[in-house]
């Protein structure tokens, strides 16, 4: 409350702080594969900017981004037909997994479940051979999109 009041009374300083925060976030973006996944967890945020669950819901459903419904059923998106069944149902995912675990799974599930899993790593460059030049050197999701998807997954509660 006090902090907020200070910022409102000092708009110029607030703007300056915001810029600082933004650049700190950009500088703080974790490069793919630079933070190891240990014990199925990655507790460090990829960006330092809290994930936006609404944006995460969009990236989750977007066929060109997460395309998560290809493999996972998710009742929250039941308006979209034909959910896949290759991966586990995600209803109640937040009851079963912690934030650090969900981040690790989205970033590179192969470091969590083992090399044989069908699930792609969404923020890793350890991928298959002959990557099409359109996608070469790129991750499936951006660092912030991973944070957004994780924030969204944390809303999937049944209990």
């Amino acid at each position: 409350m006090f902090k907020g009041a200070t910022q409102f009374s000092l708009p110029a300083a607030f703007a300056g702080l915001a810029i600082l925060a933004a650049s700190a976030a950009a500088a703080g973006t974790v490069a793919p594969d630079s933070v190891p996944i240990e014990d199925m967890e990655m507790s460090q945020s990829l960006t330092g900017v809290p994930g936006d669950p609404l944006a995460g819901r969009e990236a989750f459903a977007d066929r060109k981004k997460g395309n998560c419904l290809a493999c996972h059923a998710n009742a929250d998106l039941s308006a979209q037909l034909f959910h896949g069944e290759v991966g586990p149902v995600l209803d109640g995912a937040a009851d079963r997994w912690s934030e650090a675990q969900l981040r690790a799974i989205v970033v590179n599930s192969k470091d969590v479940f083992g090399e044989q899993t069908i699930m792609p790593g969404f923020y890793t460059l350890k991928v298959g051979i002959n990557v099409d030049e359109k996608f070469a050197g790129k991750t499936i999701l951006s660092a912030q999109e991973v944070e957004d998807v994780v924030a969204y997954l944390l809303t999937l509660k049944e209990n």
Binding site: H83, I118, V127, G128, I129, V131, D132, E133, K134
Partner: protein, 286 residues
């Protein structure tokens, strides 16, 4: 309000269809009999050294409507390509003034079972040939005609016609000839190699997850006994190498050229994986 309720009810019904389809899972228990006469072996025991116990045609993974289309040759859209292919077979083309029929006079006898035995070792080329490569060799050497470009309509039609002459005959690739075994090995390696940004191998989906849905797509064992196949999604005949390239592209990888050594090796190996399944060309798929 009533409208809204109706809309919701319709949506719910549609969801239930999606859900029940996805809960059904696995290959359906049904028999493919074409025109009520010709029974097709769509489930056969696997050859020695195969990862599966039973080989199952992709027909068992499709909807009742799609299965019915294939079972009725009058309704099967692929049969138009068979007719067109027969015309091409009998049409003179090229400087030598020949058609296929000029040399292979009795098409019915000559072609019976032939398509089921490809790909085959070609000593002169030093590599396995599929039907498309064999046609092009004949066109260049014997007809003095231009080889077909990949996926030219006439190439697909003639290949479909030739394969169709083996309808209901078991697919068998002879690995004892030439260097076929080496090509099989190379194909096997490729089958298990993950490609692209999505990091998927053929085996990831078709060996580990067949019988499951990826979105609305029911994953099959990926057998090739129905190719060229009429694909409803594309409303066209689809060649095997077109499908290989499509699958590889879907992993977000650059795909090899049609009939390249990589894809010919893959064809040898994947054909072997379907050993004993009857030829269904032209199969109908989603």
């Amino acid at each position: 309000m009533a409208n809204r309720t109706k809309r919701i009810a319709t949506m719910f019904a549609a969801m239930m269809v999606g859900t029940s389809a996805s809960l059904a899972g696995g290959p359906v228990d049904d028999k493919l009999v074409i025109d009520g006469e010709l029974e097709i072996n769509t489930r056969v025991p696997a050859p020695e050294g195969h990862p599966f116990d039973e080989l199952i045609s992709g027909w068992h993974y499709r909807t009742p409507e799609t299965r019915d289309l294939e079972a009725d040759s009058f309704q099967n859209p692929g049969m138009l390509y068979v007719e067109r292919g027969e015309e091409i077979w009998n049409t003179v083309d090229g400087a030598a003034g020949k058609s296929c029929a000029s040399c292979h006079e009795d098409a019915e006898t000559f072609l019976k079972g032939l398509g089921a035995s490809y790909p085959k070792w070609n000593e002169e080329a030093g590599k396995p040939f599929n039907i498309e490569l064999q046609i092009n060799q004949c066109r260049e050497q014997n007809m003095q005609a231009e080889p077909y470009k990949f996926d030219a309509d006439d190439q697909k039609a003639l290949t479909t016609y030739i394969k169709h002459q083996s309808l209901g005959m078991p697919m068998h690739v002879d690995l004892s000839e030439g260097e076929m075994q080496d090509w099989w090995e190379k194909g096997k390696e490729l089958y298990y190699t993950r490609t692209g940004q999505l990091n998927l191998a053929c085996a990831t989906c078709h060996e580990n997850y067949n019988g499951n849905y990826i979105r609305a797509d029911h994953l099959s064992q990926g057998n090739v006994n129905g190719f060229p196949t009429y694909r409803l999604k594309q409303s066209a005949m689809v060649s095997l190498h077109n499908r290989f390239r499509g699958c590889i592209r879907d992993t977000r990888a650059a795909f090899p050229p049609a009939f390249s050594d990589d894809l010919m090796a893959l064809e040898v190996y994947v054909t072997w994986r379907g050993t004993g399944l009857d030829i269904e060309t032209p199969a109908v798929r989603q």
